[in-house]
Symmetry: C2
Subunit: 271 residues, 2 copies
């Protein structure tokens, strides 16, 4: 795995980095095709929003320039961007002089079975719940133990993703995806004001659906709501859209809305 | 800041380390005096409990040997032990072959004003709340953005610590300390089943108080309960015990129980 730290080829980081000490930072995972990072503007916007909420003074022009240069060298693959608050002595207090570190990592394109997109996937129902923390909700920050524990609940590849609820039992998202439902022709996705990651593909699909005149609803949903949906799919900015066929006892079929949004996602990622 | 990685002097770590990627690991902060890490058995026990809950296969004998050797070389200071799930490719799934990394860092003894212990401290009332996550409660894990954001709320040194409540409004702990109250002669401390760090000094003081025949109560407490307490103090395994004199509008005096436990803490740390 090739990587840069602050624009220079490097595969190590100071042990005093606050990304390690406290998970004090953010990340983005971008698909790179033909040397171009896809949905870059949306990824950058979310990252900058996170930086603002965490009081992390990122040089966005510098990061953009580095990411474009890194992606050109990559060609095809997955680009992970990590931004941390930099190196600092012990203690939670933020040193205003600490320079944020920009880490870029290249990984190969993931080898998902083509049936995931073509036919659909089964979701594992995770016992692990997402804690409700409005101050961090929506951010793709480096505090990801909930996802690590949730992902450790299953190893059988018949489950392509896991469904996560919050501690109050609301349906929220997949472990590494966002969740959509189609209910009476309306495109629905869980609100992420208390927990969850506000995914770039989620935002893009909501915007595209609205542009197509589709009704969209961002709200709280229960497992019963999910079971009653006409169509269900998961999405992220690497694989696009996967129809969901089962979760627990519930069964769905890949429907027309899912297929339409899947084509849109594919065009955005492959174009 | 001197450091070892896996028993060898090193100040860098692979950028692919899961401690950085996901905060996938745990830490301990130990006082070292005369080359001896204090309360080592309790620190190690908590670390191993955390490793079990995070499915992290730590070689405890090896870590113990390294920590003792590192502390001997340190003399006096603060030893931070970080254990991460090791280096791994992209993705939340745990690689059962990934070897956990052991990181030891030496820092100088903190220069707290002597008035903190002798007279007492004022607590800042943090707006940031602790999310309720039973799966991680009690652990000193590397997902510490809540503490980073809470600590960023004040910079005036007249506040030595910050008080944190959970999202339901229960009083939980300090940003880097545990909290005790004395109510009608009974030693009380918040239950940490939903959030918070189950501190080593907290466990030690509870055990010592019980051995002295003192009644102890570990339960849920509100800000009103806190305001009504006869004595309040914070503790951790580096500074011992600080009496709390104020928090918001509430006022307390350093009382006899606080002073007795402060002496006990000092003996444990200085002996």
């Amino acid at each position: 795995m090739h990587s840069w730290v602050d624009g220079v080829s490097a595969d190590v980081l100071a042990v005093s980095n606050r990304g390690l000490a406290y998970g004090d930072g953010l990340f983005e995972t971008l698909l790179v095709r033909g040397g171009r990072p896809r949905l870059f503007e949306r990824h950058l916007a979310r990252l900058l929003d996170g930086c603002q909420r965490l009081h992390l003074p990122l040089d966005s022009a510098l990061l953009t320039e580095e990411a474009q240069r890194f992606a050109t060298a990559m060609g095809d693959g997955v680009l992970k961007v990590i931004v941390t608050r930099g190196d600092a002595p012990r203690g939670y207090a933020i040193d205003p002089l600490a320079a944020p570190r920009r880490i870029l990592q290249a990984a190969p394109l993931p080898a998902y079975p083509s049936a995931h997109a073509e036919e659909g996937v089964a979701l594992f129902q995770c016992a692990m719940r997402l804690a409700e923390q409005p101050a961090l909700a929506g951010l793709k920050h480096l505090n990801r133990l909930e996802q690590v524990l949730a992902r450790s609940e299953w190893s059988d590849p018949r489950w392509a993703e896991g469904l996560m609820c919050d501690t109050s039992g609301r349906v929220i998202e997949g472990v590494y995806s966002n969740l959509f439902m189609v209910c009476d022709g309306r495109l629905c996705t869980p609100a992420l004001a208390r927990c969850g990651v506000a995914g770039v593909m989620r935002a893009e699909l909501l915007a595209q659906a609205q542009a197509l005149g589709m009704e969209t609803l961002v709200a709280d949903f229960s497992l019963d709501d999910l079971a009653c949906a006409d169509e269900v799919f998961v999405c992220n900015s690497v694989y696009g859209v996967w129809p969901v066929l089962t979760c627990g006892a519930a069964r769905w079929q890949a429907g027309a809305v899912t297929r339409k949004l899947q084509r849109i996602a594919r065009e955005l990622l492959d174009a």
